[in-house]
Amino acid sequence: MASVSVQNLSKKFGSTVALDQVSFEFEDGKFFALLGPSGSGKTTLLRMIAGFENPDQGSIQIDGKVVDHIPVEKRDIGMVFQSYALFPNMDVQANVGFGLRVRGISASETKRLVGEALELVRLSGFDDRRPHQLSGGQRQRVALARAIVTKPRVLLLDEPLSALDRTLRLEMEIELKRIQRDVGITTIFVTHDQEEALTMSDQIGILNEGQLVQHGSPVDIYENPQSVFVARFLGEANLLKGQVDGSSVNLEVGGTIQTRSKPASPLVICSIRPEKISIHKEKNIAPSSSNQIAGRVNEHIFNGTSLTYLVQCGDQVVRVFVQNLSGELIAPNTPVHLSFRPEDTLVFPDA
């Protein structure tokens, strides 16, 4: 178990910048998600911490010690790969025991530790199966057992759930989190799936075009995104353009609204989460302090527990999530009023 710290990491591949001055502290025993679109540099950062890539600039510390010149095999990390990378010529026992075998640990001790690891991932009794005889979820568990059996200082996960179907993925998310908590290992998890990042991690770092654009707890980033990119990338956001008029904003779609903070430039983009908007057929049902805009229902999508309305406001479509409390739907083409609190209306300069 150890903390990981990266300082000013930069890396170029040819003329493309993969990482640009990234600094981050991964605290001991926590679960971190590195989230970003493809090509954002998140995998490069993970492979750098593992030692597969060397930074052009900057430095990496594990447990307070600089590891820049320590090769992968001496870094004492555990890694789970996107393709799982189970050795096809070895059975489960040999796969999980591989790291112990290269460390010269005795056969009986290896057997005991492998048994423990398989029990932890709930795969006891699968010892002599070959990888091709296992399902996707089982391979995933073997890969995880193999990565943690050597008790590494850091566990690195490279999009480990992306190859699984949805049901299995949700199940593995919970499993992975449980195992991480049981073992208490510092875990860094790369994903492009925002839901995964939100549900699993203690801390999220969001990368875009090689830069760490924001980091913090899932709730903090979700509620306080510091840029349009983050607002849109983590969760859904309705983005409405407007012009500043004193302390309020005149929206292009019509209506004048108040925002959480004072707008800093004349042209702004306002961001409102779909679930923070209420929808009414009558005007003035919401408290007068609320922002209100008018629109017309385009379509509704019934999900059982919730409803999504697509509301045409001016030339833009605003998404609204409502809990299914009454079981009544507002029919398409009905004129509606959308209201949302100024605290939930974030404002960003329009570049």
Binding site: F52, V72, M79, A85, F87, F98, R103, R146, A147, T150
Partner: protein, 259 residues
């Protein structure tokens, strides 16, 4: 449609006849009593019995197998290493080097043989079985590189990354993960190299020391002295061996890639 099908089949039959009729004739005649190829064929195994007492052919066969075995070991080892280097590393002039591997396939053997003879004399290697081994290694190396590289194309390099992340050194990764995975390709490559060496005539002819020859060279010499059905008999045996080798290769190496 029917016409196309019919033409296609005729074409296929013609090709197979073209390839196999001469061989079948030779095999048939090796079982013919008459030395003068008189027909009809009278069944006899006398030419095979004659082989049993032909000590020249025996030693030539032994030489052939020895040279083939040694050159196969060497070229498989070297060729696998070359394929791995091409797979793992990106370096300057890699493309050029990849092209430079192939001339033994394209340059006429006569020219390669002459060049080798001149070179081996110049550096003092001279002629003999050891020179043949070296020559055959140079010839079979490109085949090994091609076959092993083809297998490496479907190798997930995350396997090597995984081994290293688990603490395996470079050699442990290679020997415990990469090579076992490559094994079918390596075996196919070795069988290829063995066949190339066993079939090789020109280079062996050039590099043979007087009195120490391989089987193809010995057969050629025998033909020049006067063709006997004994040659048909030994050739038949060689064909059977080659066919077995080919079967072995196709067991480990899918011709024309994966389905």
């Amino acid at each position: 449609m029917n016409f196309l099908k019919w033409t296609g089949r005729t074409y296929l039959v013609c090709i197979l006849l073209f390839l196999y009729v001469p061989i079948l004739v030779m095999v048939a005649l090796s079982f013919n009593e008459s030395q003068l190829y008189r027909l009809p064929i009278e069944w006899s195994t006398r030419w095979y019995e004659a082989l049993a007492n032909n000590s020249k052919l025996h030693s030539a066969t032994l030489n052939s197998v020895t040279v083939a075995f040694l050159s196969t070991c060497l070229s498989t080892l070297l060729g696998t290493a070359v394929a791995l280097a091409f797979f793992r590393y990106h370096f300057r002039a890699k493309r050029l080097l990849q092209i430079l591997i192939f001339p033994p396939i394209t340059i006429p053997w006569l020219i390669i043989g002459t060049a080798m003879l001149v070179f081996f004399f110049w550096v003092g290697i001279g002629r003999g079985l050891h020179a043949m081994v070296l020559g055959h290694v140079a010839l079979s190396l490109p085949y090994v590189v091609i076959v092993v590289s083809a297998r490496l194309k479907s190798f997930d390099s995350a396997l090597e990354d995984a081994a290293r992340s688990l603490g395996a050194s470079y050699w442990q990764t290679t020997l415990w993960v990469t090579v076992p995975w490559l094994m079918p390709g390596i075996i196919a490559a070795a069988l290829f190299a063995f066949a190339v060496s066993l079939d090789q005539f020109l280079i062996s002819y050039f590099l043979a020391a007087p009195g120490v020859t391989t089987l193809p060279v010995e057969i050629y010499t025998a033909i020049r002295k006067g063709f006997t059905p004994e040659i048909n008999a030994i050739s038949t045996l060689v064909i059977i061996l080659s066919m077995l080798l080919l079967l072995g290769v196709s067991r480990f190496y899918r011709f024309g890639g994966r389905d």
